[in-house]
Symmetry: C2
C-alpha cells in the first residue's frame, strides 16, 4: 500500500527519537497501520545534525516552510517548540491541507483554539498526544477511553523535573536549591528551569487536559500557577510525619460555578498510588462519574517516550485521515459546536483543604488566638502538630491541617494570623487534596 509521507520539523531530542523509533520499529508499525509511515523531509536549523541523524537517507533542509508547503508531505510533525515560528508553521501546514502532529504544549495551551478552528475549517487533523505527559496515552484515554463519563476532576504529576526534585528532597532531606543543582547536573533540569519549577509547563499540560476533559476552550491565561521553589525540606518532612507526600499537582475540577484550573505543590495521602510516583515519572489520575478513579502512569519526557506518542498519533492519522471529518474524534473531545462556556473559577473561589505552618512564640494563649481566627473564618481543623522549640529558642513550628474551606477564607485567616504579635514571619500555606471521591 502507498506509504504516508511525513515532514519532520526539528530533529532535536524528540525529533531524533521519533526518527529512531519510526526506523527501528518500521515493520511492526506498518503491520499495525496497514501502510508504511516514512519520513520524507526533515527541517532543522542545524543542518549538520539533521544529516547526521538521518544518515543521508532523507532530504534535509534548514527551511521549515519548504516542508509545510511540500505537496509530497501528507503529515507535518512539529517538534520545534515555542509560540511564534511554530505557530506560523502549524497554521501554514493546515492551510496547505496537511495533517499536523505536535508535541508543543505551550503552543496549544496558548493558541490551541485558533489552531483547532483553522484545522476544523480545513478538514485536517491536529494530533497532540505527545504534548501531555510524554509517552502516557492520556489524551487518548480522556478523549476516547472515558467518553461515557462525566469527568469530575483530573489531578496529575505532569512535570518530570519537579517530581524528580521533590523525590530527592524527600529521600535525602535536602532543600530545593541544592537538589536543583544536582538535577541540572544530571540533565533532569534545564539551565533556566523557570518553566518547570514555576509550574508553567504543568499549567500548559493541565490546560489541555481540562479542555478535553470538560469540553471547554483552552484558557491558559486563567490558570493559577504556583511552583515548588519555596518548598523547604522541613515542610516535606512535617507532611510525611502527618502521613502525606508533597507533589506538584495540576488539578482541574468541574464545579457548578466553574472549572478549577490550578498548579501548585499539594499534600496528598501517602496511601494513594499517585503519592508513590517518584523520580521523573508522570501519572494522571482521572475521576469519572461512571468509572470512578483511573490512573495512567509512565515516562513524561525523554526522546523515545515522547516519540512513542508522536508515532502513535501518526498511526492514528494514517488510519483516520480517510474518514469524513465529521466522524473523526473531535480535537477537544467534544464536537466543536458543543463546547461549554463554563468559566474558569478564580483561585479565591477554589475550595480545598490546607497545610499551614507558622512559627510562634512559646507562650500561653498563642494557640487560642490562632484557633479563634480560624473559627471566625469558619475553618475547621483536621489535625495539629506542635513541635518542641529548638534548644535555646523560644519559638516553635506549629502545623495545622484544615478541613475543606474556600481559599478566600484561608487568605483572610492567614493575614490575621500573620498580624499577631506572637507570630514570627510568614505563614507557610500548602494546599491538600484527598484525591478520593
Amino acid at each position: 500500500m502507498k506509504p504516508i509521507n511525513v515532514g519532520l520539523l526539528g530533529i532535536g531530542t524528540v525529533g531524533g527519537g521519533t526518527y529512531t523509533v519510526l526506523t527501528r520499529n518500521q515493520e511492526e508499525i506498518t503491520r499495525r497501520a496497514g501502510r508504511p509511515i516514512r519520513i520524507v523531509k526533515v527541517a532543522d536549523r542545524n543542518l549538520a545534525l539533521a544529516k547526521e541523524v538521518t544518515k543521508g537517507e532523507v532530504e534535509v533542509t534548514d527551511d521549515a516552510f519548504a516542508v509545510v508547503t511540500d505537496p509530497n508531505v501528507d503529515i507535518v510533525v512539529e517538534l520545534i517548540g515555542g509560540y511564534t515560528v511554530a505557530k506560523e508553521l502549524v497554521l501554514k501546514a493546515i492551510e496547505n491541507g496537511k495533517h499536523v502532529v505536535t508535541a508543543n504544549k505551550a503552543l496549544l495551551a496558548v493558541h490551541g483554539n485558533e489552531i483547532f478552528a483553522a484545522a476544523q475549517k480545513k478538514g485536517v487533523i491536529v494530533a497532540f498526544e505527545a504534548a501531555v505527559a510524554g509517552g502516557i496515552p492520556i489524551i487518548k484515554a480522556l478523549r476516547e477511553g472515558l467518553t461515557a463519563n462525566r469527568i469530575e476532576w483530573i489531578a496529575g504529576i505532569i512535570n518530570g523535573t519537579t517530581n524528580f526534585i521533590l523525590t530527592e528532597m524527600r529521600e535525602k532531606g535536602l532543600d530545593f536549591a541544592d537538589v536543583l543543582k544536582e538535577a541540572q547536573r544530571l540533565g533532569y533540569a534545564e539551565a533556566d528551569p523557570t518553566f518547570d519549577v514555576e509550574g508553567i509547563d504543568a499549567a500548559h499540560k493541565l490546560t489541555i487536559m481540562s479542555a478535553i476533559g470538560f469540553g471547554i476552550p483552552m484558557q491558559f491565561d486563567k490558570a493559577y500557577t504556583e511552583g515548588i521553589t519555596k518548598l523547604t525540606g522541613d515542610d516535606i518532612r512535617y507532611a510525611e510525619e502527618l502521613g502525606y507526600r508533597v507533589k506538584l499537582l495540576g488539578i482541574t475540577r468541574k464545579t457548578e460555578k466553574g472549572v478549577e484550573l490550578r498548579v501548585h505543590p499539594t499534600l496528598i495521602p501517602e496511601k494513594r498510588l499517585i503519592a508513590n510516583v517518584n523520580g521523573a515519572m508522570n501519572a494522571v489520575l482521572v475521576m469519572g462519574d461512571a468509572v470512578g478513579p483511573t490512573m495512567y502512569y509512565g515516562a513524561g519526557a525523554g526522546a523515545e517516550p515522547t516519540a512513542s506518542s508522536v508515532v502513535a498519533d501518526l498511526v492514528d492519522v494514517t488510519r483516520m485521515h480517510t474518514a469524513d471529518p465529521h466522524h473523526r474524534v473531535p480535537h477537544l473531545a467534544f464536537q466543536p459546536d458543543q463546547l461549554s462556556d463554563l468559566p474558569i473559577l478564580p483561585m479565591e473561589d477554589v475550595r480545598t483543604s490546607y497545610y499551614l505552618r507558622l512559627r510562634a512564640q512559646d507562650k500561653p494563649g498563642v494557640l487560642a488566638d490562632i484557633t479563634r481566627i480560624l473559627a471566625d473564618q469558619e475553618i475547621s481543623i483536621d489535625a495539629m502538630l506542635q513541635k518542641e522549640p529548638d534548644e535555646g529558642e523560644d519559638q516553635a513550628d506549629i502545623i495545622i491541617l484544615t478541613h475543606i474551606t474556600v481559599e478566600r477564607n484561608i487568605n483572610q485567616a492567614i493575614a490575621k494570623i500573620e498580624a499577631l504579635p506572637t507570630i514570627n514571619g510568614k505563614v507557610i500555606r500548602i494546599r491538600m487534596e484527598s484525591l478520593s471521591r
Copy 2:
C-alpha cells in the same frame, strides 16, 4: 443528527449499568459522539427485570435473536456471557451486518479468531474494551496508544476478586479459605468462585491482551493457569519479610522462541507501583521498547466501571462505522493478514525466578544438600531466609529466592529436594518477577 440505535442483550449488572450510564450522561455523550446513542431494544430472559430497569421507555423482549436480526438496530451490545448462546448471537448479529460491542472475555479468548474473521468478512466492528480490566481503557492503550512500540511484556492484576482476597490475606494475616468466605459474604466473590480463584478469568483477559500486544491469534488453550487457592498466610508473610508482595499476575512476554502466556501467584518487589494496587482494583503494566513502562489503573469490574468501557466502545463505533473498513483500527491491533505465528511457549521453557519454601529437619548438612541440588541444576541463589524451629519442633522453614532460571530446571530441582530424607512434605514454589526492564 440521526441517532445510532443499540440493541442490548442482557440487562443484569453490566447491562443495567450500561442503561443507567447511557441515560444519565446522554447529553455529555452526544456532545462527544456527534449524534445520540440510544438503546432501542433490550432482550433478557427476565422480562420483568428488563421492564423495571428500562421503565417502559424501551421495547423489551425475551428473544435475543429478535434483537440481532432487527433491521432497526445498528449496534448489538452482548452482555449475556458464556460461550454458547452468546457466540451464536454475536455471529448472527455480524451476519446481519450489525456492529457488536461485547464484555465477554471468555467468548473472545476461546472463539475470538472465528468471530473476528466473520466480522472482517462482513466489514463490521467487534469492540471489546469492557472484556479486559473493566473500566480501564487498556485495549485502547494497547491497540492505539502504544502503536509505536514493540511491546516486550504485559503484566496485569486483572482479576478483582483474587486481588481483594490477597490484600485481605496480607493485611489480616489470614489464610485463603477464611478470606474467601468473607469475600463471598461481601459480594466480591461468587458462590462458585472457580473461574476467579483458579486464574481462568485472568487467563481469558491475558489471552486477549497477548493477542493485541504481539499480533498473534487468541490461544487461550495454550495459557498456563495457576490460581491462589494453595497460597498460605505464611508465604505472604515471608514474602513481605523479603520485601515482596504476592499478586495474581497475568504475564505475557515475547521472547525469541515464543510468547509466554501465564497466570499465577507472583512475588513482586514492594517498591513497584503495581505491588501497591490493593483491594478489588486492577492495574496493567506494559513494557514498550520506546516508551518504557506504562501502567493503567482502575476498577476492573462492577456495573458502572464496566459500562464505562461498553459505552466508550459505542462512541468509538459511532465515530468509526462510516470509515472504510481498511482504515479502522484492526480488531487484533495488527492488520488481519499480518498476524505472527510465533508459538506460545510451554511453561517448562519459561524463564523466571522463584521463591521456594521447604520444611527441613534442623540437622547439619541439610542446607548443603539443597544448595548442591540447585547448583547442579545451574540455579543460583539470590537470597535465603532460615526461620528458627518453633518451640518443641525440630523442623524449620527455609525460604530460598533464586535468580532467573528455566522452569524445567526448577521442577527437576524441586523433585530432587523433595526426595531428600531431611525434607518434609512438598516444596512450595511461587514465581517471582522483578517487573523492571
